[in-house]
Amino acid sequence: MIKLVAAVLSAAIALGLPHAARAANDAELQAIREEIKQLRQNYETRIEALEKRLQEAEAKVQHAEASAVQAQTTAVTAAVRPASEGAFNPAVSVILQGTYNNFSKDPNTFRIGGFIPAGGEGLGNRGFSLGESELNIAANIDPYFRGNLTVALSPDNSVSVEEAFFQTLGLSNGFTLKGGRFFSSIGYLNEIHQHAWDFVDAPLAYQAFLGTGARGNYSDDGLQLKWIAPTDLFIELGAEAGSGKNFPGSDRDKNGIGSAALFGHVGGDIGDSYAYRAGVSYLWTSPRDRQFNDLDSAGNAVVNSFSGDSRLWVADFILKWAPNGNPTLNNFKLQGEYLHRIETGTLNFDMNGAGVLGMPVAGGYSSNQSGWYLQGVYQFAPRWRFGLRHDQLQAGTVNIAQVLNGTLTPQDFPTLVGHTPRRNTMMFDYSPSEFSRIRLQFARDESRPDGVTDNQLFLQYLYSLGAHGAHKF
């Protein structure tokens, strides 16, 4: 009935149009068309809303008799969407970023003293440099699964799959299963995409223990099962099993599981103004022939490798403050993580026989190392934030059998000579809107094995296009 009225109405308006059109110029004609279009849309929306009310009224009646009728009441959306194949396009978003870098020391010689290099360390280039452009595509697959793909386009023109996973939608009882390639939920910062970090680069502890490099996160191909407790206090427990092919693991030709992770987080609010989350995580990997380059005591370039077990513990916390829980004017966050890694196994010195002994020599190896960072970021005015970060690593104890039995000297492993890398970082950022940010960062870095200080300056831009993504706490 209502549809009929609407159709008659729009027909009447359409019939009246030619008279008006003759007298009108093109612009007016366009304006009238616009108006009719709007009118029609208005009617369509109103009709849909009325239909919805009708359906709900029907549902109410049906309830009195049987409660089984469910689908109808929820099947309606009032939004006017184009009825084309494209209507089901997933949410697409793009991150554009880049930096201008100024380093007082050559970034190509950067190494974290006292730690087996993860291979990902680095500062990027001096001068202007494009950051990683990120393309994210996500949508619900069906009522049971959600899919998410994040592709990273590197400035060197290579493409990598950062994340590609499915996730169950409401397995119920608090369970969620995730599979594919995804950022591990260990720690706090690891699950957060680099463009949402508060500093340009990763904490030193992440670089040393997770091989995060200046950019990127620890990810693995595998499965994750997570459970949220049915309590008012947020309690999250989860387990992951994966291939273990990324540092601290290594590529291995083997069936079964190459890495396993466990994590537990608790969180909640303290009054209206504070919210926190804290947790403990554990990551086990078993690298086989995980290689790193070094120089022996005679200055020969050698390739060493480690095989064994790598166990990493992470304790993390974050505390956020916003007056009355309204962060728009001022807010503050304090965040810290402690990482502790124990590795035991075999170290193979000079795999290629190019060093002082002229042949590979294998021996027992064990290390017990730790590191932490603490950072605070304060939004002192809308759009403006200021942040400080301190990083520190303890090279701890490293036992190399070949050194202990006198076959080699500590100078044959200059990278592993005990050191306490440190870094202090300060940043300012300005966000013209929710979708753009410009950041200036200074760092005084003392992490190189020779103890020299590197003064680093970054000027970074971050832009986000497309779908409005939700950010993790």
Binding site: K52, R53, V76, G170, G268, G325, L465, A470
Partner: protein, 301 residues
């Protein structure tokens, strides 16, 4: 003996089912929907509000406490139209709760039930943080509340069949009281017709539309962007031609821009409760509109 056993088993079963249906856990994204569900559900529902009247629902984080509450919810009611786009999708996907996923009876998008204003013709972020589905701040038109109330009654009845009679009775009683109140408010608000106002954000549009007031400007240069000195000066010069009578803002918005413009233009800048709990008098939905009208009438005198 057997009879006693059967009887006690039945009692136990009854007690368990009673406990299970003791109260429907409701998770409301905003205080107005919490208040509405409470009105309609009475003691059959236990309502949690994700945000307070002092918080801007655009800018909430997916805090652990919210995930924990979403985990145990039987019914989620939110404004929708992308108002909660920055946090609600995360709560839903992290909750591991199948009952509250969009498309299921346990999820209600209130803005889908009403005719939305200001549906943008062109979708371009150069226009600021606009909402493709239209202006989401629908709660300040009481006729919208009535429409949402119908849907809430239907959903509560669907989710908690044991208490259908209660929900229908409460729904009917509420609608009667509400319609009477709307009539009263419309009479009281008649002098506000045509009153030109400036608002901080485009979040009073439905109120202005309902009362027939006129929105002549916003303190935000574009939706979602903070007020700038340049924009305030522009507003002030516009006011020489098209004067505004009062500047409106919510309890959670920055007071400085509206106070600044008000003192320069010598017109009042007032806080409206905006939602339940926004002022002392806005204790429930009726109080929300009573106080809103009272404050408007006072300022427009």
């Amino acid at each position: 003996m057997n009879r006693i056993l059967t009887l006690s088993a039945l009692t136990l079963l009854f007690a368990i089912s009673e406990a299970a249906s003791a109260a429907l856990n409701v998770f409301a994204c905003e205080p107005e929907w919490a208040a509405l569900t409470q009105e309609l559900g009475g003691d059959k529902v236990s309502v949690y509000t994700a945000t307070t009247a002092l918080q801007d629902a655009h800018h909430i984080e997916a805090r652990p406490s919210l995930i924990a509450k979403a985990r145990s919810a039987d019914f989620v009611i939110c404004t929708g139209a992308e108002l909660e786009v920055g946090w609600l999708p995360l709560l839903l996907s992290q909750s591991g709760n199948g009952k509250i996923q969009p498309g299921s009876p346990g999820f209600l998008d209130a803005s889908n039930l009403v005719l939305k204003l200001e549906v943008p013709k062109v979708l371009d972020r150069a226009q600021g943080d606009i909402h493709p589905a239209g202006n989401p701040h629908i709660q300040l038109d009481p006729r919208n509340i009535a429409k949402v109330a119908e849907a809430v009654t239907a959903r509560l009845s669907q989710l908690d069949t044991a208490n259908v009679a209660t929900y229908l009775a409460r729904g009917k009683a509420f609608q009667e009281r509400w319609q009477a109140a709307i009539q009263r408010w419309e009479q009281e608000g008649a002098p506000l017709k045509g009153v030109p106002v400036i608002t901080h954000h485009k979040d009073m549009t439905y109120l202005i539309h309902w009362l027939g007031m006129r929105e002549v400007g916003n303190l935000e240069p574009k939706p979602g962007l903070p007020a700038t000195a340049g924009h305030l000066a522009e507003l002030f010069s516009n006011m020489q031609r098209d004067p505004a009578k009062v500047i409106l803002r919510t309890p959670f918005q920055d007071a400085r821009p509206s106070e600044l413009l008000a003192s320069r233009a010598k017109i009042p800048a007032i806080i409206l409760p905006y939602t339940v709990g926004g002022t002392d008098k806005a204790k429930d939905l009726f109080g929300l509109f009573d106080d809103t009208l009272q404050r408007l009438l006072q300022a427009a005198k």
